[in-house]
């Protein structure tokens, strides 16, 4: 079974930390992995994406073909729409609802959310608010990963293991906060899908 994910956001929002956690989770589940990142100029506040492919079979292309992604996981609502041509008909669009506004012509957030709702399989989650509720706004990206986790062909325990590996150096407190964030995201999706 494969899972193709397009990770989306704005340079500086830290989508690569989500990618790293998925990578560790895939490794823990003994799966093949290819993850294409954007470095360089776009990291300065531009639109950034990462193609992440996880499979029990060998993976050919580093890039996901159009219309083949199982998940768009976006930490910014308008950015989630930019990669729609990659999403498969039955794929899931999972996005944070907090906009990142660094351009003058950013559309109204209501219009953006309305556009997202046109797509059948979507999860809209205010990850910043959920993360803030247990006192760590910085873990909102992990809330997002948790919210997308039910759509992966990777066991949830592997994501937890990924968190332990990625945040291992930062101490047990940070690990626990991020595990909490991961579970909170997962619970949100289970209630709202």
């Amino acid at each position: 079974m494969k899972t193709d994910i397009v990770l989306a956001g704005v340079g500086g929002q830290g989508i690569l930390s989500i990618a790293a956690t998925i990578g560790m989770a895939a490794l823990h589940s003994n799966l093949h992995l290819k993850q294409s990142e954007v470095h360089g100029m776009s990291q300065r506040g531009g639109a950034v994406q990462s193609h992440m492919r996880v499979s029990d079979k060998e993976i050919a292309s580093d890039l996901i073909p159009m219309g083949a992604a199982d998940i768009i996981l976006s930490v910014e609502p308008m950015e989630s729409l930019r990669y729609l041509p990659f999403l498969s008909k039955d794929g899931w669009l999972v996005t944070n609802t907090t906009p990142f506004i660094n351009i003058t012509n950013y559309p109204s957030i209501e219009d953006v959310l309305a556009e997202i709702k046109k797509f059948k399989n979507h999860i809209l989650i205010d990850a910043d608010k959920i993360a803030e509720e247990f006192g760590s706004k910085r873990s909102s990206n992990i809330v997002m990963l948790g919210a997308a986790s039910p759509f992966f062909n990777i066991p949830f325990e592997s994501f937890e293991e990924g968190i332990r590996k990625i945040f291992g150096r930062k101490g047990d407190d940070i690990i626990q906060i991020n595990l909490k964030a991961l579970r909170a995201g997962k619970e949100f999706t289970e209630k709202n899908r």
Binding site: Q35, S36, H39, G45, A47, M78, L81, P85, N102, V112
Partner: protein, 537 residues
């Protein structure tokens, strides 16, 4: 031996360390930067004295690597494709000197120009220099080619190019490592005049290079990275190079591939296999990432008049990066062209960070220039290039490293006075100093703004060779100390900045203005913060 999760760049670095390099030389440049950073962060490299600090530019890196090779050690030099232009003098002549210790030149190309001014294909440089190229199709091959590339280099006594593109450089996958090779002992070349390129010796060496070409071709023909896959359906033969192979195979995940396929990952082109596929098949499709270099050469190989299709006839786009869909279309497969990006999605180009010192410098400059006609600001390669975008629209050129100063000089020579150059600290030491000497020697009426943020910002905050040296360099090359002005670019200092800039713009000679404030992205870099304090900057 272990399995690691590595970027293509990191796989190359790991392969080189496992192959026993004694040093790596580089100037940061996307998408090559992470190779050297991986070595810099490696405990193994520290314990084994593998030198890895940044070089001042790609040319000094290439030459240092050649020196290390002269002394018998294995070494790698890394750069982005346009960096090879800077290193080209040393690079081209290194194929004439040949090497002693194994030498790999990594050139990371950027098709689709994700972070570059052009999408030149480094394979042309290797062909020009007549040296072998290794072009991995995946991270494992990237590792292995770095690992085995040194053997190839030492066998033929030539530099070897390892060519990658952005996609592989910045994509992560599992990599199996190989047994550690110990570093070479010091040993001088058997002929101590091998590296003396006096005409008589150069002519002899060049003949040697020409004579080695057939051996290199045979090496390609038996390379385990060049593979001929038989296929029953001879109506089409497919040749792929490097990473393009993956995009082909992506289209046959649930279909049978019946066409013969030649996967090329080592050059010179394996003539035997190429002739075989050309003879066997009615038509040849060439899929390569970058310029149509194999496609063009193939047209010259033809005996039977087999049609060759690819980037040159429009079967594939002539420019830009490949992807599975583009290749599907070339194969005649139906592709999903459903363009569903809603209109509501607006472009989000990169921009300078909120609170960046370059912004304050530009705001002041625009004010100071307001009394002159527009179109007189020459800029350079770095974060401040983003000053070209709204709301600043502040610059009129971005060409190559160092070109701001020399283009401003040329424009001033032509009567565009004042002319302004905007260059960063790291770019200034990379290639700006020589241009500044030209300005001083003509006393050109130029105002040079060296926007000093103590780092190479765009590539992720690498060390700047200019740190704490800029004023001394300027004075040293002859800029009058009265016309070297330093200030901290902040909103509070805006009036003073505008005033200083106005005065220097009016001065009919060389002025250097240094807006100086640490890059906000590097504030967490304790070593740098400490150094800045120590230097009193």
């Amino acid at each position: 031996m272990q399995k690691l999760l590595l970027l293509g760049d990191e796989a190359i670095a790991q392969g080189a360390m496992d192959a026993g390099i004694s040093g790596i030389y580089a100037y940061p440049g996307t998408p090559s930067t992470e190779i050297t950073e991986y070595v810099q962060a490696s405990k193994f490299a520290k314990e084994n004295n593998i030198r890895s600090t940044w070089s001042t530019n790609e040319k000094t890196a290439m030459e240092s690597a050649l020196g290390m090779s002269y002394a018998g050690k294995r070494t790698m030099v890394c750069m982005k494709h346009v960096g090879l232009n800077v290193a080209a003098d040393a690079f081209m002549n290194a194929s004439i000197t040949g090497v002693n210790g194994g030498l790999i030149v990594v050139s990371a190309d950027d098709p689709s120009m994700h972070s570059s001014q052009n999408e030149q294909d480094s394979r042309f440089y290797a062909k020009f220099a007549m040296i072998p190229v290794l072009e991995p199709s995946n991270q494992q091959e990237a590792y292995e080619m770095a690992y085995f590339g040194f053997e190839l280099s030492e066998k033929f006594k030539l530099p070897v190019m390892l060519r990658i593109t952005t996609r592989l450089a910045h994509s992560r996958a599992g990599v199996q490592t190989m047994p550690l090779h110990k570093q070479n002992d010091n040993s001088l070349p058997t002929d101590l005049r091998q590296f003396v390129l006096l005409p008589a010796i150069a002519r002899r060496n060049y003949k040697g290079l020409l004579n080695s070409q057939s051996g290199l071709e045979q090496e390609s023909e038996k390379s385990k990275y060049n593979n001929y896959f038989e296929g029953k359906d001879k109506s089409l033969g497919i040749i792929t190079t490097g990473i393009a192979y993956n995009y082909l195979m992506e289209n046959f995940q649930d279909k049978q591939l019946n066409f013969p396929v030649l996967k090329i990952c080592q050059y010179p082109i394996p003539r035997k296999q190429v002739m075989q596929i050309v003879k066997e098949c009615k038509k040849i499709l060439v899929i390569e990432e970058g310029y149509p270099i194999v496609e063009e050469m193939l047209k010259g190989y033809q005996e039977a008049g087999t049609p060759v299709i690819g980037r040159l006839d429009g079967t594939l786009p002539r420019d830009g990066e490949l992807n599975p869909n583009i290749v599907a279309k070339a194969l005649g497969f139906e592709t999903k062209t459903d363009d569903r990006i809603p209109e509501i999605v607006k472009n989000r180009p990169p921009s300078m960070c909120t609170g960046c010192g370059h912004i304050d410098a530009y705001v002041a400059l625009l004010q100071a220039l307001s009394e002159y006609s527009e179109g007189r600001v020459f800029s350079d390669i770095g974060c401040y290039t983003l000053g070209a975008l709204p709301p600043y629209n502040a610059i009129n050129s971005c060409v190559d490293m160092g070109a701001s100063i020399t283009m401003a000089k040329g424009a001033a020579d032509a009567g565009l006075i004042p002319s302004v150059a905007v260059i960063g600290d790291s770019t200034f030491t990379h290639s700006g100093i020589t241009g500044l000497i030209d300005c001083v020697s003509d006393n050109s009426p130029v105002t040079i703004i060296i926007s000093d943020n103590f780092t190479a910002g765009m590539t992720g905050g690498q060390d700047s060779k200019a740190l704490g040296r800029i004023e001394n360099i300027c004075i040293g090359v002859g800029v009058h100390p009265d016309h070297i002005k330093v200030f901290k670019p902040t909103k509070k200092n805006m009036d003073e900045m505008i005033q200083v800039m106005k005065e220097e713009l009016a001065y009919q000679g060389v002025s250097v203005i240094i807006p100086r404030r640490q890059c906000i992205q590097t504030m967490k870099n304790k070593v740098l913060v400490e150094k800045v304090k120590e230097l009193g900057l």
